[in-house]
């Protein structure tokens, strides 16, 4: 195998390197070199020219567009702030203010909406008279849930009042 190739004295293109006695063709080595050489010739790059080009490009930038982008960013931050405040309200423990009962009311609202959907669904496929009965059940359900919610709020309020009183005691002592 190797012998027949090595005797090929007419083909001068085959030369130089060998692997396990097999001469490696010049073309294959060249191909590999080309694949690994970066296509941009770094030696020809003038750094001063690149800097000048960059400065030019910066000067070309539209100040109006920059201002708009800044304003958009400001708006986005405002939205984020609002989002944060709302989240904070939900995570705060219940206090004496009625406004801060939002999480409990919301729970009831979700229940109400889900229940209404069920009623509408049932009445669509059965006798519509059933709607009245179901609405009454809904009212009862909502009242019951409100009671539960309110008792939870009251309990939380009592606890926080107690805690505050204990803190005040500690301060006096």
């Amino acid at each position: 195998m190797g012998k027949s190739f090595n005797n090929d004295v007419f083909n001068s293109d085959f030369n130089v390197d060998s692997i396990n006695g097999l001469n490696i063709s010049k073309e294959a080595i060249e191909e590999n070199k080309q694949a690994t050489t970066p296509k941009i010739d770094l030696s020809n790059i003038n750094l001063d020219e690149v800097k000048k080009q960059l400065k030019k490009e910066k000067a070309k930038q539209d100040p109006q567009a920059e201002l708009e982008a800044l304003m958009q960013e400001q708006e986005r931050l405002k939205e984020k702030q609002k989002e944060y405040e709302t989240l904070e309200n939900y995570t705060k423990p219940p206090t004496e203010n009625n406004e801060e009962k939002i999480p409990y009311t919301k729970k009831t609202m979700i229940f109400k909406q889900e229940y209404l959907d069920i009623i509408n669904g049932i009445s669509a496929i059965t006798n519509t008279e059933i709607k009245g009965v179901l609405n009454k059940i809904l009212e009862l359900g909502i009242n019951e849930m409100k009671k539960q919610d309110n008792s939870l709020v009251e309990k939380a309020l009592k606890n926080s009042k107690k805690q505050r009183q204990e803190k005040a005691k500690d301060l006096i002592i």
């Binding site: 195998m1 027949s4 090929d8 396990n20 063709s25 294959a28």
Partner: protein
């Protein structure tokens, strides 16, 4: 990105074809699209999927250029998620014909180039040699994996393979790297196997896969009936070892370009 892996060892009977077959099946079961390239004239990998006597075209036709359309040679879906480029004993005379070809080391690379991106893994089952066909496999690959059997002189031949890989990397394929070695035919009951496995692990350190392919009668049974051990008995040690090795190979995906780029 497609990983083209040459499974290489110039020793015969170390489990190259068995590993190529079972890794291919294991990778396909792990949802990887696999192309198996049988470049061994023995055609044992081909035999696991199709009748080698009924092949119209093989890898030989592509290498010799008698067929230029790879789609005429490729066998689609020989198993779900697996395609195969088959081979048979006709490949024996090909090397001599290629010797006077231009850029003869890159022929396989050029053959696989248009289709390899259709796959996650291209596994090349190399013959037990370090000839021009194997150089083609290494030039076409991004990685090489060496199975080493727990046999006497197991490590002596590996130096030659590693030198070959280094030379190919230097001259023909700078993207090539050795992804790892793994121990095959391991019988934990014998001192000899334990010592050799330990020597391999000490020698290759992090380049040695944690999975060891244990000797397993089911692997032999599967070979006898031209099947993968995973298909024959998925609960056998052999099947579990190859599934584990496939997972290790997949996990290397995160390291490519990083730690395993061993220069």
């Amino acid at each position: 990105m497609t990983r083209t892996i040459a499974i290489i060892n110039n020793k015969g009977g170390v489990g190259k074809t068995t590993s190529c077959l079972n890794l291919g099946v294991a990778l396909s079961l792990l949802n990887k699209k696999v192309l198996l390239v049988d470049i061994d004239p023995q055609g044992n990998l081909t035999d696991a999927f199709i009748n080698i006597n009924q092949l119209q075209y093989t890898i030989k036709d592509l290498l010799e250029g008698t067929i230029t359309d790879i789609n005429q040679v490729i066998k689609r879906n020989v198993r779900p998620y697996i395609d195969l480029i088959p081979s048979n004993n006709l490949l024996n005379g090909t090397e001599e014909k290629l010797l006077n070809e231009m850029s003869r080391e890159t022929i396989l690379k050029r053959i696989l180039e248009p289709i390899k991106n259709n796959y996650d893994y291209v596994l090349i089952d190399c013959p037990p040699s370090l000839n021009l066909i194997v150089l083609n496999s290494l030039t076409a690959s991004s990685e090489a994996i060496i199975p080493i059997a727990t046999e006497y002189h197991a490590l002596t031949g590996t130096n030659t393979i590693i030198q070959t890989i280094q030379k190919v990397k230097a001259l023909l394929n700078s993207n090539l790297r050795l992804s790892g070695v793994f121990v095959t035919k391991y019988d934990e009951r014998t001192n000899n196997d334990r010592e050799i496995a330990e020597a391999i692990q000490n020698n290759f350190k992090s380049l040695c896969y944690k999975t060891i392919i244990r000797t397993n009668v089911k692997i032999k049974d599967a070979t006898n009936i031209h099947k993968s051990v995973i298909d024959l008995d998925p609960t056998s040690n052999g099947a579990m070892d190859y599934m584990s090795l496939a997972k290790e190979i997949i996990n290397q995906e995160q390291l490519i370009g990083g730690v395993i780029n061993n220069g």
